[in-house]
Symmetry: C2
Subunit: 145 residues, 2 copies
DNA sequence: GTCTAAAACTTTAAGCTTGAAATGAATCGG
DNA sequence: CCGATTCATTTCAAGCTTAAAGTTTTAGAC
């Protein structure tokens, strides 16, 4: 194993640690301030961004979760009256999901606090740092398959 | 909401996306090549690094998971004969966990492949990139509480 | 010494997550 | 049209994860 490879491994472990710690803080914020969870927030954020509705497949692809997982989270949001399923008129396989009025209001009530939390978590990164970070992430993302 | 705050949010979302995608590839590697999971690998790696054994509390702190979670994963590893619990002689509350012979061999059989996978995932980052990344992560990590 | 608080774990209930299998629907080649 | 394949989704079993509550043990205050 090369020296470089070992350095990549250490960097990866550190990256994972920092993101997990940050996620834990966000999760705690959502639980204490809004009595909800990160997966629910993520789904609601996706539905908020695409107000016209998303298919289940689009949703799971956007969030990088399995299709069965998306089904489960949407089930619970629907049970709580925050999301809604609507069958497609043209393709009877597909289902559109969107937020209900209540879901929209609930998300709007959380979004600003969430952004403030993230702002706090990254508060030591200035514009130049953010640009550097994005550049590095873009390099990592490049398709390798 | 300031412009900078919005940029931090976008950067965070991207960071999360990239690490989740990388984690998914590692998970797939572990499943296909070694019929195991990321949490199990993480626990085994921690036990490998600290060969003399770890308490359950140390383990959950190292991995940033709840204590109940550590209990569950160690239960399964123990059932499979890969890890072992040993009560402390001086403090009857604490339990030491370590890898069995079989666990050591199993981990050694996976470690190189895992490092190669990570090397591949970060293959577009050279030494300078890695240093830049670590610097940024250190900034993020700084205590904010 | 005794009482109280803290610590180390485990247990529990609920929710999250995955991969695989199942269902039902659309598409495509012939 | 028909049969095979692909596609969108759900269901399922197993494992992961958390927060909270519970158990047992240790340590500290007095």
């Amino acid at each position: 194993m090369s020296e470089l490879s070992k350095r990549r491994l250490k960097t990866w472990i550190r990256l994972l640690g920092v993101t997990r710690a940050a996620e834990a803080e966000l999760r705690e914020f959502l639980r204490l301030q809004h009595d909800t969870t990160l997966p629910r927030f993520d789904v609601m954020a996706a539905l908020w961004r695409r107000r016209e509705g998303l298919t289940m497949s689009e949703l799971s692809r956007m969030l990088l979760v399995s299709n069965g997982n998306a089904t489960a989270v949407v089930d619970r949001l629907e049970k709580d009256g925050l999301a809604r399923r609507r069958p497609s008129e043209t393709d009877r396989r597909t289902v559109f999901v969107d937020l209900t009025e209540e879901g929209l209001r609930a998300f709007e009530g959380m979004a600003e606090g969430h952004e403030m939390e993230v702002d706090r978590l990254l508060s030591d990164l200035d514009d130049a740092d953010l640009e550097a970070m994005v550049t590095l992430l873009r390099k990592m993302k490049k398709d390798r398959k």
